[in-house]
Symmetry: C2
Amino acid sequence: MKVTFQIEGASPVIIECNAGDNLLELARRANVAIDAPCSGNGSCGKCRIRLVEGEVESLQSRHLSDEEYAAGWRLSCNCKVVGDCTVFVPDIASAYQSRMKTADLSSPQEVAIFQECQNQLHASGIRFENPFRAVVLHLSAPSLEDTMPDNERLSWGIREALGVEKVEIPFGVMVHLSHILRQEGFAVCVKGQLLGDAFRCMEITGVADTALVGAAIDIGTTTVTMVLTDLTTGKILAKGSSGNGQIRYGADVINRIIQQGRPGGRKKLQDAIIKETLTPILVNLCKSAGVSARSILRLCVGANTTMNHLFVGVDAEPVRMEPYVPSFFSWEGLLAGDLKLPANPLAPVIIAPNIGSYVGGDITAGTLASGIWDKDEMSLFIDLGTNGEIVFGNRDFLMSCACSAGPAFEGGDISCGMRATDGAVEACTIDKETMEPALGIVGDPDQRPVGICGSGIIDLISELFRTGIINAKGLFVREGERVKRDDHGMGRYVLAWAEESETGREISINEVDIDNFIRAKGAIFSAIDTLLKSVDMTVDTIDRVYVAGGIGSGINMKNAVNIGMFPDVDLEKFHYIGNSSLSGAYAMVMSDAAAEKTAEVASNMTYLELSTYPGYMDSFVAACFLPHTDARLFPNSCRG
Amino acid sequence: MKVTFQIEGASPVIIECNAGDNLLELARRANVAIDAPCSGNGSCGKCRIRLVEGEVESLQSRHLSDEEYAAGWRLSCNCKVVGDCTVFVPDIASAYQSRMKTADLSSPQEVAIFQECQNQLHASGIRFENPFRAVVLHLSAPSLEDTMPDNERLSWGIREALGVEKVEIPFGVMVHLSHILRQEGFAVCVKGQLLGDAFRCMEITGVADTALVGAAIDIGTTTVTMVLTDLTTGKILAKGSSGNGQIRYGADVINRIIQQGRPGGRKKLQDAIIKETLTPILVNLCKSAGVSARSILRLCVGANTTMNHLFVGVDAEPVRMEPYVPSFFSWEGLLAGDLKLPANPLAPVIIAPNIGSYVGGDITAGTLASGIWDKDEMSLFIDLGTNGEIVFGNRDFLMSCACSAGPAFEGGDISCGMRATDGAVEACTIDKETMEPALGIVGDPDQRPVGICGSGIIDLISELFRTGIINAKGLFVREGERVKRDDHGMGRYVLAWAEESETGREISINEVDIDNFIRAKGAIFSAIDTLLKSVDMTVDTIDRVYVAGGIGSGINMKNAVNIGMFPDVDLEKFHYIGNSSLSGAYAMVMSDAAAEKTAEVASNMTYLELSTYPGYMDSFVAACFLPHTDARLFPNSCRG
């Protein structure tokens, strides 16, 4: 039998198969990207395809309306092949898994955060100094009287120019040396790295190209973000992001670990991040910055422990299996060439160190950027990614833990969820009388809504709760024009009618979405609660709360407290610090001292494994209410 | 049009082509190996193929008899395609370019030379010590109480076992660490290299495999020879050799440099040595020694400057162009993985340093092995390869030069020439009265002759001269049954009639062969003469003469003096030391001190460029007689 995938905006792919084969599995085998955040267990409803010809065996999912089912829409994860068929695959760059985006660096807020990071680290004595140098040499050509071979001639010139004792010319540079010296008439620019009293050559170019570039990369489970920086000045040269191409192997780390454990899986997951995600962004940013990929002389990655394992292609299975001891925390000596990244193959790749299976380099880099390691006051650092990670402490101690919050804060696990990009509802108020919503939407003023991002969901649930439309369990208790129920009685609140939305589909939040989100916020709060208890402290001891992550700068802290996600402390104590994994990675690329400090912070940080910590499960269950089963913890929560 | 190559012992190859295409060029394009030592200029007569079907446009060469021409034999280098045709290609592993051969190590002379080399260096204070170690570790498995990640666990074990401070785990080892530790139950053998206070891991295996292997390689222009050695004991594990696969791009370095300068040429020449020559030998020797290729932790190469450039894939053009300044003399930091050699990819590849365009690492390694750098007495070191290189001096100074002797000593440029392998005439005497020869043949007692190797040619010419069959110019001056003349009057001496030989073809030496050889021996003698003159010395100052190279241990020094190839000194002063490039490489693999000493010897050696040295050409012309135009230089030469 044959299945033809008609891919939106790409050539069709045909694969031979047998009766009974699963359509999502076939798509993966044929390397057809279908969004499947739940990794094919039918819960997320994202893997929709439309039957164009032939038939498949498939039950109607709750994620598909009768009209959609009649129009041929199916969830590929529950389709069995019964004969030849043709299916339409919508562009993987859907609302959830957004297209690659290059930031507009003329907008001051895009670059301000990196300048702030530098200023703050500077105040803590961390200088932005690194060992990368570009040396322009005007050598004399060989003659019968001057018979020094090419490599000795070059080494001599570099020793004179830099005052080093030893010069290393690695293979990849050496094989082209003879050619480039003659092509450039023995006037060249040598880029490389000081290593003690030695200089390691990394690239030889004409004298006009003296660019020294660093790349800071945040590899999130859902989103990848990157900046290119001038290694001399620290200036941001380009910034971009896109969805993590691994998303089709599962939205969360557990599903991806399972997938990488299958035959050939490690290679597939590594290709998905390196070839399909990082390579296009790097190529694009180099073009945008007007630099060659070979000018990228150092890369730094902030990523969670699983992402780090999948990035380097090391078996991640030990991450999820007791005793949860991963293959590595830190990794020395990694080079861009080892991973075939489009950068100088000799460029060191620094991985911000992991400290446990579920507290990774994104958190140690983020902790560096937050500056809490150098303060007297007690700080809480909360990173809301696909997982939630919490760090608490000050210059004397740092405790950390992770909770499995799921992808809700990035719009996953929510039927109309999306990332905080154009068209996302990022803020919302609801009129208590009329129950009509007022929406804040990312993008142009006349942008129609596409879906809801993390900060929008927080607002929405807080407002539904404040206005008494839902109860403490997240169930609909008021009726009205905007509150609908399906055949099974499940309630939903409609933010935008089909005709008002960009997609032509209704944008709403239902009880399953709300339940998913309450579990996510409950995981965050109970993690904070347990971490504080583990050091015998309470919320009163918290001097500052740093909130980081892709949830968006629009996060309304008052609403987050209102629903019991963050502890009920003075709103002035909250600070949104953006993508701290990325700004930490930026600091580490620019500064050896920052990289060393991150390693020091990591080695001094204590990791609390919540899954085996007594009392955590009770705390979690208690937190799965609005705002909490113990309302005394949230005196300022405003129930309508 | 189509040409079909019917290759002896292999599948046919068909290539599309145009009228007028040269058959040898086509063969190269189709990757069909045809022996062409003269690189296709028609002078060597080795590239013979036989027309089976169709026609080609071709002149009859002096290298083909009328019978052979009638039977369809042609020289591929002077065939133009005129229509579809099929040609038979004799096995490239011909008499000249012999098959790969694995030495029988039960023969004591095969291993004695390496033991002698070790003893002699030992006497000079050079110890056979190297930094390679195999450590067996029994680590505890991780648990909830012992959460050290894999790489830290391994590093800890190595630090404990070796007392080092730092452990490097390179990428290629690290990616498999998690898997191998679990597969082997955390009991492993780690092989690697001590680097100061650090240990670099190179391979992790089960505890049963503790082999530490080194490879010493002599890359000759004509022949490649290799030994595998136990890095701990110095024992020879396997030895083998084969022709250099680059031979089809030319017999001498100049033709190969020209070939590598053509588009794609560098890659072709590098593939010919690495993929087609070294890889099969390495694989074969590993099999024979019962070790894995990944156990090879260090390689050392003794090769001339051009071979070194082609080996690493660096443009060799500067070697042959004024001012004759090559890309490198020595090369640090080269790894087997850079060259994709079948060895541990992290294994350092040490290239014995070159000291000039035409005095390369084969000579510096050979000089180390000869021991002349540590003696008071004045020594002459002569390496007879495809070129001839001479070193003269003692512990106080070393002078060197090279002469373009051509491949005659290895059987090239001689119509019935071959290397010193089975079937080669390696010794010869001629009865003065009857003019009948008595032959010494390599191999079984009843082996029929195949061709003549270098030592055989020396004997033959010396005997022809002694018996008055040829004159001082190498022309035939006696008539007899064994002396034949062709239609052009060119004389030849028949050593074996067609029916007596292994090939069914007459084995003879003609005036062109003799002329070629006289030029070769003249080049050697005039080089020695010029080198002595350059330091104001004469042959009387020579205390010892070391003769090295593939000419064979059967070389008769008396005959070599007789024809004026070597200076007329006491025969007791001569010592044949075999393949000194290989034994030098062996010492450098086994011993850091030997490698350092070679570098020191190289940097102290003075290189004399003969081509621009006043008087050299006159000296060469004077030496192109038997024994010399100035007979007083050879009082002991015995003219018949």
